[in-house]
């Protein structure tokens, strides 16, 4: 069984956020980690590997420095790693990202593709289902549990007020929630091995059945009109009085506003 886990290197949103002059994110200037939902997806794949001996390949699209999350994934137990990187792929929205990743996946044998539900930088949750659409695969989003049963997967699909237990024939694509599991740590042996292993690097020419018009900034149907740091709403009045006076102040305001 072959599992491909799509992972993304994301800026740690606790650090500062920087933009290029064209309004796209300046990823090069920010601290980077493996996206949490993706890491849960990787852990789910590694647990299937522990049980069945499946082969786990990790794939990412990004700048050359995204190599770091692939090495981390291999140190956790992934067998192979592919980095899709090319200047012409830069500035991609979710459409152009999903066409790129689908183009890379067409080169691989897979029974199961796992992505994170969403990345903490964009929070869109769009790339997983869009990859499935480009590849004509069944998709199960928001997975809170994944089990393999013969040639099928059985997944607990989470909604706001319920879950559905769904069964899909492989090949299929699943998007993983962080709640799925607690990812394992890298092992010292794994870190040692990961340094020796090769990361396969693919560029534009390695993508299968994709038009140039569907790639990068030019191939992105959505365009950024404006991006900015969030401006806080202006502060109102603040008082520092003893409790009784505080309450009187607020009751006065409520009367002024005809709330009481």
């Amino acid at each position: 069984m072959n599992i491909v886990v799509c992972i993304k290197q994301v800026p740690d949103t606790k650090g500062g956020v920087k933009f290029n002059p064209d309004g796209t994110l300046d990823r090069a200037a920010m601290l980077a980690i493996m996206n949490p939902d993706d890491k849960a997806g990787l852990e789910a794949a590694l647990r299937i590997k522990d049980e069945t001996g499946a082969k786990v390949t990790v794939l990412t699209m990004g700048l050359p420095k995204a190599d770091a999350v692939l090495r981390e994934a291999m140190a956790m137990g992934a067998d192979e790693a592919i980095l899709v990187t090319d200047r012409v792929l830069g500035g991609a929205d979710t459409w152009a990202t999903s066409t790129t990743i689908a183009g890379a996946l067409r080169n691989l044998d897979y029974d199961l593709i796992i992505t994170g539900r969403q990345a903490i930088d964009g929070d869109t949750a769009q790339v997983g289902p869009q990859i499935a659409e480009h590849l004509g695969l069944p998709v199960i989003s928001y997975a809170a549990d994944i089990k393999i049963e013969g040639d099928s997967v059985v997944v607990k699909r989470q909604y706001e007020d319920r879950y559905h237990e769904l069964k899909a024939k492989m090949p299929c694509l699943i998007t993983a929630l962080s709640e799925l599991n607690v990812p394992r740590y890298m092992t010292p042996g794994g870190i040692f091995d990961a340094c020796d292993k090769e990361v396969t690097v693919w560029g534009r020419a390695d993508l299968k059945d994709v038009d140039d018009s569907d790639l990068g900034l030019k191939g992105s149907p959505t365009k950024i009109a404006k991006a900015s740091d969030k401006v806080a709403k202006g502060a109102g009045e603040k008082v520092n009085l003893d409790p009784t006076e505080s309450v009187n102040y607020l009751i006065g305001k409520f009367k002024e506003k005809h709330i009481i």
Binding site: T13, V17, G23, D93, T94, W95, I120, D121, G122, D123, T124, A125, Q126, P129, Q130, A132, E133, H134, G136, P138, V139, I140, S141, Y142, V154, Q158, R162, Y163, H164, E165, L166, K169, C172, S213, P221, T222, K223, I224, A225, A227, S228, D229, K230, V231, A232, K233, G236, K238, V239, N240, D242, P243, T244, S246, V247, N248, Y249, I251, I259, I260
Partner: protein
Amino acid sequence: MNKMALEEYKGVFVFAQQVDNVLDGVAFELLGKGKDLAKDLGTDVTAVLIGSEVKGLADQLAEYGADRVIVVDDPELKEYRTEPYAHALASVINEYKPEIMLVGATAIGRDLGPTVSARVKTGLTADCTSLEIGDFPLVAAPGKEDEQKHNQLLMTRPAFGGNTIATIACPDNRPQMATVRPGVMQKIAPIAGAKANVVEFNPGFTPNNRYVEILNIVKAVKTTANIMEAKILVSGGRGVGSKENFKLLEDLAEVLGGTVSCSRAVVENGWLPVDLQVGQTGKTVRPQIYFAIGISGAIQHVAGMEDSDLIIAINKDEDAPIFDVADYGLVGDLNKIVPALTAALKAELGK
């Protein structure tokens, strides 16, 4: 992407999400926003209703502003599954060619939206908190005024955990698609007896490998109030100190006819259930009055409540960021202020 004949696409469409044949509140919110956008564009609003035996819901959509309702009714659509629903919505888009397609950013919409956008080959902006009609680019480059496009859907959304705000356009593809965060847009006051033009459409459903099998449906037992519907929220944070101390907030909520909600820290401490959590990873609320009590005001919390009509913060730390978004801030000990406020309100309201 291939160039599209954009002028063929007309009208504002909203996906009218229903589960168990009950319309989701976000459907009405989208209709409310859809009406504003349609007015700016001089067009009308169509609700797309997908399910099994759902035609009876069309009148309700009319009361909330739908001029037309396209009903896709088929036994395959009884429960939400990505494939038959994506086929239904994509077929409606290909047949009726809307210029704008809005979908609620729910656990259904955030699966259906991307699948459909990829199928009809257009862009999709996720989790929008503001939508308006305007120009793209916002300001025309000098000498390139004729390249500026008018009457575009400008979709604004937070990103980076609420640290940034981006406004996105989809100038060369149709429909312009967005998922919209529940609780943000305003529904209209329902117009009793309003009728919409109801159109039935069935593209045919032939199960294939992409139709997943539903083995089981497990509904969560609902025991808590819906904080998204509340007019007054009395919200507590870590500063409340303990589960027991939430009694102070419950008393205040009771005298005002409000509901208790909380920040993430409270859920993490096991003091209140996650259904009551306001914020980025909880619910977005916009009550008439929001009390933030013992809540420091992390950006993730503020993202979920800053659009409340009136915000009152009570916190002992006078530098707490919550005061930056509060209309009225009381610096002091919540254990003293909250009971005194409850007592004073009781006296004022004659309770």
